[in-house]
Subunit: 331 residues, 2 copies
DNA sequence: CCCACGCTTGCCATCGATGGCAACGGCGCG
DNA sequence: CGCGCCGTTGCCATCGATGGCAAGCGTGGG
């Protein structure tokens, strides 16, 4: 069995030149129908498959998009990644995925490797660190940022409007008569977290409702801390409603409410999660539309590849409030 | 700004031949120290980075491993993927990830693309369909299967021992005095599910405990169905313990137990999940060791790359029973 | 009847890195 | 003093696919 046949083999077997075989391969119209058929038959017979590496070298580029995220193990990002992969395959692009694991040095390294592979474009969820070095390094390779801006880098961005989304959650609870609303979130050191907290505060203020400091717990990086914060919040002058500003917070808040038999307390969570609709009551969430984000990012990148002169834009993906019960409980 | 400098530029600037520059790049000892220093300095000055595409073409292979899974969005596989990425980077390999989305045609297509990219090896979680075609297509490219065997393909396999793992869960519950144990799982059409159900039945039989048909609900492909099955099981002659044979079943069983205020019923779940340790009681699970599986798969592939003559083996990853409370409740 | 134009096809160079082979220079040894 | 070896360096071909350029051939118009 020919371990692997190359275009030269095809050409020789079909009795044509390499150039003609290449033309057939690329659907060049300037080939006689008879010649084309003969070459195509030989290609099938020899099970010829073009060598993408050689093609990329010659073309100077590759039909592959680089994708750098913090970790594919993160539930939210893994959904985004899946959406990107699907959207890219629809536009005939492959995706080379790499995880930074939160390490800026590794991120830099991975991005460098992707450039060395001549990816046609880069989708990036930046870490918190400065990305000025990328500004020049990209050369002509377009970059689209996902979920958050990169300090020091002026590039397209696809993200949700954290501020507005949190505001929507607050308005939703206010409409049911809630006034004592607690906020449980992670540390406001990443921009998205900061925006959410600001959205909460400003919306409350806009309605003239004071927010006592003890009702704001922006110090819960994991479910355990969120559960503890929830227990503390329930212990005295309990709020009538909670806003959980991250999925990993919801994973603590929800069990704590259930354990304390306080499923009468309203809750709107940020980010959907596995059990949200199976619980009683179902958890009302602001849905982080992973699929839409991934799709929009690919679309933007494809557009920029087609026309590099496009102005840099920020695409805001609208979020959806999924009512399942917990957010509609009365005060 | 030199948009991109190539080795020729380095050679010219340093006043040496291309060959010498190449030797410096590859740490060939046959280069005078002075020459080496000069070339290295020029490389830094020009910000030279080798072109991986050209290198792969010349070398005939690529330091990249192909990874094909059903979907990176699946919680279990996304963890496996992350582990593989990390393990591969430790052995200086990149990973090209692709999702089949359960479509055999797409799987075949993706695998073909990976071969065209000349990946040095392939990690594959096969779909249920026949993979005989791969037997010949691999050529000299080694394949390591993950999580389940591929019908028709004789290749290394890294997986957990589903049968033994379920048996362990049963033994654990029996030790606490349970006799009426319900089984909630998904359809036994994939091999892993079948093995789990068999493990359950055989272990019960081995202890001489009959399993009434109504206690086996192997028809729950999603949390909603599992929740309903749980409610039904609780309604009459309720079992004193549950075994949930898949994470997505646990995500239905657990809320149903909580909603019915039956947290006194014992439960051992298959596969860890986000809330498992925050709930009251914590959920005892048989842990699917994603990290260990990914790491073992990479190790096996690297070993086979180093020595292609190795015999085909199956590596069974031991599972761990994580006791958190729900599995230790008395009958 | 010849030229020119158009449709096909082929030769050769190229993309960037690297291996084979050889040349070159210096030095030690006979 | 000369030969040969070793350390160092360079020229050229190669990996597989593809674009530029031009030749070959057939035909229609002047």
């Amino acid at each position: 069995m020919s371990s692997k046949s190359i275009l030269r083999d095809v050409a020789r077997t079909a009795g044509v030149s390499l150039r003609t075989a290449s033309r057939v391969l690329n659907n060049d119209p300037n080939v006689a129908a008879a010649t084309r058929d003969r070459v195509q038959t030989v290609m099938r017979d020899l099970r010829y498959t073009p060598d993408l590496v050689a093609r990329s070298l010659r073309a100077g580029k590759d039909a592959t998009i680089g994708l750098v995220v913090e970790s594919v193990a993160d539930p939210f990002f893994s959904e985004v990644v899946a959406a990107i992969e699907l959207a890219a395959s629809e536009s005939l692009n492959s995706v080379f995925i790499a995880s930074t694991l939160g390490d800026p040095a590794r991120e830099r390294d991975l991005i460098g490797q992707l450039f060395q592979r001549r990816v046609s474009g880069l989708l990036l969820t930046p870490t918190a660190s400065d990305h000025g070095w990328l500004q020049g390094a990209t050369g002509t390779t377009p970059v689209v940022l996902i979920d958050r801006p990169a300090p020091g880098l002026d590039a397209d961005l696809v993200a949700i409007d954290d501020h507005a989304a949190t505001a929507a959650a607050v308005e939703h609870l206010l409409a049911s008569g809630h006034r004592r609303i607690a906020y449980v979130g992670d540390y406001p050191n990443v921009l998205t977290s900061r925006e959410r907290l600001a959205g909460f505060r400003e919306t409350m203020a806009a309605h003239g409702i004071p927010v006592p400091p003890e009702l704001v717990r922006a110090d819960c990086p994991n479910p355990r801390a969120a559960a503890e914060a929830t227990r503390a919040l329930l212990s005295e002058q309990a709020p009538t409603a909670f806003i959980s500003a991250a999925t990993r917070c919801s994973l603590g808040v929800v069990p704590a409410l259930h354990a304390g038999h306080r499923t009468d307390v309203a809750l709107v969570g940020f980010g959907d999660f596995a059990m949200a609709d199976t619980l009683q009551p179902g958890i009302t969430v602001i849905d982080h539309p992973a699929e839409a984000i991934g799709r929009a990012a690919v679309e933007r990148l494809v557009a920029r590849l087609a026309d590099p002169s496009l102005p840099v834009t920020t695409t805001r993906i609208p979020v959806a409030l999924i009512k399942r019960g917990s957010g509609e409980l009365p005060a």
